[in-house]
Symmetry: C2
Subunit: 410 residues, 2 copies
């Protein structure tokens, strides 16, 4: 068994090439990872541009106090008039500045009367004029290869007229739930020993949320021949195979042997000193990954958060690091094992600070998936840490911004 830190190190050090790239229409690229730099194809703005509604003037002409309105210059106009000395051109937010003008006096600083403006408040030269290249300059790299495409990236690319974008294909993640006792969603129960599968559905949703493309293989039982067949097909069709169950020490735990012997994969690690999920196994076969998670619902979800998300992003050339914050305990925490523990906690954001508690979280086995509902995060303790008391700080892994709000955030 290796330590949690060692397991993450081995994961980050895996020699895996990113997926192939593909071109997508810009508006289909949200959530993908850029496989190209985005370079500014022009200066923005390209010409001096008005930043407000007002009058384009020469700053020095403010001394005249009264300027004749020469013309009107709307944004997007077909032709931009040239300013005559001593006059003013009505100019709007986004309009190009007229030739010969150097300053925009805002509408609020003048009185308009009988075709003239009376200057009520003087401004410095260049006021409210956006300079050429103020936003960005031609040739500048604005978004680097390896960036995850979010709404701001979409906006900037649209402003550059990037109609199509080169992205990494999302890795295909095959999901297999093992265990003879498992019933598929909607399948009829025929004996009391059967339970509903949830792992494969939880992981499918998690893969969708965190940048992968799920391939659902469903519940495949415990039969070793069936398992071999399904693992073989899954590995052929996907980039990452994720399984749940069958990695412990029981007589029917065939998964670890199938990965090693049948698939012939190289084991990166088997067994990590974590709770939950100590039996986890990570293996590599050529450019593909096999991640064997434990069977209990809480265990498989936590280990998917810890290992699967970074793997999905790794295959898109991104080093995904977990978000670990400090939070103050609002209840006591009882350390249960000399392992790196990930305990489900309620997380609140109150007046800008994070707080956690364990109220209502059941401390039974790792089978309890309801502990992950709602405003939940994972409180972390290292193997050598002891119990924690109310008021102390803990490290907490967050995977989204779904915090219970209080105080100023309420």
């Amino acid at each position: 068994m290796i330590s949690f830190d060692e397991s993450m190190k081995r994961l980050y050090n895996l020699e895996i090439l990113p997926k192939e790239t593909t071109r997508l229409p810009l508006m289909d690229s949200l959530g993908f990872v850029l496989a190209q730099d985005i370079v500014a194809s022009y200066n923005s703005p390209e010409y001096p541009t008005a930043a407000m509604d007002g009058y384009a003037i020469k700053a020095a002409d403010q001394a005249l106090k009264k300027l004749k309105i020469q013309a009107i210059n709307p944004a997007g106009a077909v032709e931009v008039p040239t300013l005559i000395a001593g006059k003013a051109i009505k100019t709007f937010t986004g309009s190009l500045m007229p030739q010969n003008s150097d300053t925009l006096i805002p509408i609020e600083f003048v009185e308009e009367k009988d075709g003239y403006i009376l200057i009520e408040k003087e401004i410095e030269e260049g006021f409210s004029v956006r300079e050429v290249g103020e936003n960005f300059k031609k040739g500048e790299v604005l978004i680097e290869k390896g960036s995850i495409i979010d709404f701001a990236e979409i906006g900037v690319m649209a402003s550059l007229n990037v109609t199509e974008v080169e992205v990494y294909e999302k890795p295909k993640v095959a999901i297999i739930a093992t265990g003879e006792e498992l019933l598929e969603l909607g399948e009829e129960q025929t004996r009391p020993t059967q339970i509903r599968s949830s792992n494969n559905y939880t992981i499918e949703a998690l893969v969708k949320k965190f940048g992968g493309e799920p391939l659902q293989f469903g519940c495949v039982g415990d039969d070793i021949h069936k398992l071999k067949e399904v693992f073989t097909i899954a590995l052929e069709q996907s980039d990452i195979v994720v399984s749940t169950g069958g990695v412990s020490v029981g007589d029917f735990d065939f998964v670890k042997d199938i990965i090693k012997e049948h698939l012939g994969a190289d084991v990166i690690f088997k067994g990590v000193v974590i709770k939950p999920g100590q039996h986890i196994m990570l293996a590599k076969k050529n450019q593909k990954i096999i991640l064997a998670l434990p069977g209990f619902a809480y265990s498989s979800t936590v280990t998917a958060l810890l290992y699967l998300i970074p793997l999905i992003y790794k295959m898109q050339g991104v080093e995904y690091k977990h978000n670990i914050i400090n939070a103050t305990l609002l209840s006591n925490y009882k350390k249960k094992s000399p392992k790196t523990e990930f305990a489900p906690c309620n997380i609140s954001l109150i007046d800008g600070k994070f707080f956690i508690d364990f109220i209502g979280k059941k401390s039974g086995t790792s089978a309890i998936m309801t502990n992950m509902l709602g405003h939940t995060a994972l409180a972390i303790t290292k193997p050598d840490e002891g119990d924690k008391k109310m008021g102390e700080e803990m490290k907490v892994l967050i995977y989204d911004c779904n915090f219970k709000k209080g105080g100023a955030n309420e």
Copy 2:
């Protein structure tokens, strides 16, 4: 003009019914909002269940030190054997506990030899047995109406065999970019006064990311007749109309009048003491919302984050509150106006703590969308606050977990 707090209060107090509900297959429901309580339809587990691999015994029989292995009881077995006093049944994680057994002695605590187990370490009665209802009890509300469906909710619903789920329809958000100078993505530029539109694409991506269904109306220019027509159609076809531009004091800023006079909507507010975005307007027409944002790219993006996201969730019965955290300044901040300012900052998570700086953020006009790229959040100052110095704390609005990592997170 009203204060930022007052504007949010008016938004939260809007009398808007949630959207209609619809039934979706469970695996299509990720990201939707539940319109029903999810109630446990059975006890979980339904029967006492083994939490580990080991031997089902009567705890008292440990005194015998040596127990004959009576049978093997795999998970999901067709029949569960009944334990004979003084014997042991090999039982696996997830297997039902045999009748007459009360305890599971883990495989690691015994030696198996010639069909017997030798007890090496005694355990207390009930060890490693998951009690009936330990996870949840029949009739318990596990997920409340109004919850956003995430991976944990999917998993718990799958475990309850919820094949279809009642959710609120996502609100349709019509997106209109006004301004004669705007060119659509891919459209050919014919005069220097034209610039590329980005607002409508940024907002489309933002709507997708934050639970709405975008309806793209594109760039519609400044012609008042065209604008009236497009706003009328947009309002008919959507739940929320979002426009950018045309809300300032310029001669071609028709949007505010169209909303009031042509659409006949009730103005909830027009003008908020914020930077950027002070000209923002929120209006309501029957059960529909019109949100008129300013035209500059940074302004429209920030105001969409502030107002549009809560409106999208409000229409699904969820009160979405912003996530405002404390962060320490790594560079100075210059307060620019006596308004509530939202300044783009770089955000880092280092050893569990949040830090912000303004390095590389251009402080020009609100037109600068590149300031929102990458690890960005919004540093907030209230109207009466002054400059902030390196080392001081600021309130920061975060809208996802895309933090630059350092220290223990690295």
